[in-house]
Amino acid sequence: MKSAPFEYARPTTLTEALDLLDRHGEDCKPLAGGQSLVPLLAMRLARPSLLVDLDRVPELRGFSAERVGAMATNAQLERRAGDLPPVIAAALPHIGHFQIRNRGTVGGSLAHLDPAGEWPALALLLEAELTVESKRLGRRTLSAGQFMRGPMTTALGADELLLSVSWPRWPAGARWAFAEVARRPGDFALAGAACTVIAGRTRAVVFAVGPLPQLAGDGDFEVTGDLHASAAYRREVGKRLLDRVMTQAAM
């Protein structure tokens, strides 16, 4: 399981990075933490001719209570979990194992868009805005819903980079809950749900049950079956998790 050959660039500014993406487009892939990309390369399921390592691009780093740079790692967030909306802090320990979180980035998770991933669900739940940029279109902002097109499919053009994700300030008194079911700790969830109650308004999301995370306040959502769980299981357990988080958040 060794990657096919590729060239490697390590830009030190955002402009340089965007320039590379502009020139190489479909032939190149941005490299963030590598926790999702490197296995694909090793299995030769992805064969870019150029890897653009974003590690040294300062504009992608750092985070605050309402905005996380694409290259912030899950471990960095975990270390300052108290500064973030508590529903994020609750979700973080479920993301793989701590060794994966040491490298895996928020931007990487969102750009990879695994339907069982926690970050896409959180982005949808928190009504996040994703800032992307390319040389071709400049900087633009997408809602989570606009960003997520399908399983493993985002609205990102081949020449576009995800810069950051942000959400409204987490107000005092806001309530929340998060729950997921996985076969073993750290596995991708078989089903998951999360809920916020902000200024009297309830917002609930299910994830890992269908092709994308979905708003599910009315209890209705799309399900798919695969090797790990049938559609029927996901519908039932998704519903139970939804009930649980909505009950917990209401308390």
């Binding site: 399981m1 060794k2 990657s3 096919a4 050959p5 590729f6 060239e7 490697y8 390590r10 490299l31 590598g34 926790q35 490197v38 296995p39 390369l41 090793a42 299995m43 890897l51 390592d53 590690d55 471990a75 793989g96 194992h97 701590f98 060794q99 994966i100 040491n102 490298r103 073993r184 700790p185 750290g186």
Partner: protein
């Protein structure tokens, strides 16, 4: 085209030209002959390749060697010295925390990271923290015992 790589491995500065696709694991094993870091899956699940990167436990199979440029890597070979084992290594020996030994370097790296983190390790929580390392031989009990002992002796 090969890339220049400058990295500190087990305290020693190393400079090499490497192809970008060479993983850190293969760099350590094949270029530096540090074969203690083992390959069990090459897709980041089994943890046999766990090493410390600037003190953080990471999968060497999911890092390109070039990504370690300017950083410090610690492998199992960098633990202890000739004639002296670390408390964690000694605890592994005492508790029979390995049988075939293939997963052991990965567990030692994870264990070292946990011990250095200063976080309180309990019998109830430690197994969850070890979920990123697979062992097929021991049933894990002795590994948990060994790490707890090393934590207690700190």
């Amino acid at each position: 085209m090969e890339q220049s790589l400058r990295v500190k491995v087990n305290g020693q500065a190393v400079k090499r030209e490497v192809p970008p696709r060479l993983t850190l694991a293969d760099f350590l094993r094949d270029r530096l002959r540090l074969t203690g870091t083992h390959l069990g899956c090459e897709h980041g699940v089994c943890g046999a390749c766990t090493v410390l990167l600037d003190g953080d436990a990471v999968r060497a199979c999911l890092l390109l060697a070039v990504q370690a440029d300017g950083r410090e890597v610690t492998t199992v070979e960098g633990m202890g010295e000739p004639g002296r084992l670390t408390p964690l290594q000694r605890a592994f020996l005492e508790h029979g925390a390995f049988q075939c030994g293939f997963c052991t370097p990965g567990f030692l790296a994870t264990g070292e990271a946990l011990l250095r983190s200063g976080r309180r390790l309990s019998r109830a929580e430690l197994p969850d923290l070890l979920a990123g390392n697979l062992c097929r031989c021991t049933g894990y009990g002795p590994i948990v015992d060994a790490i707890l002992e090393a934590a207690g002796s700190r």
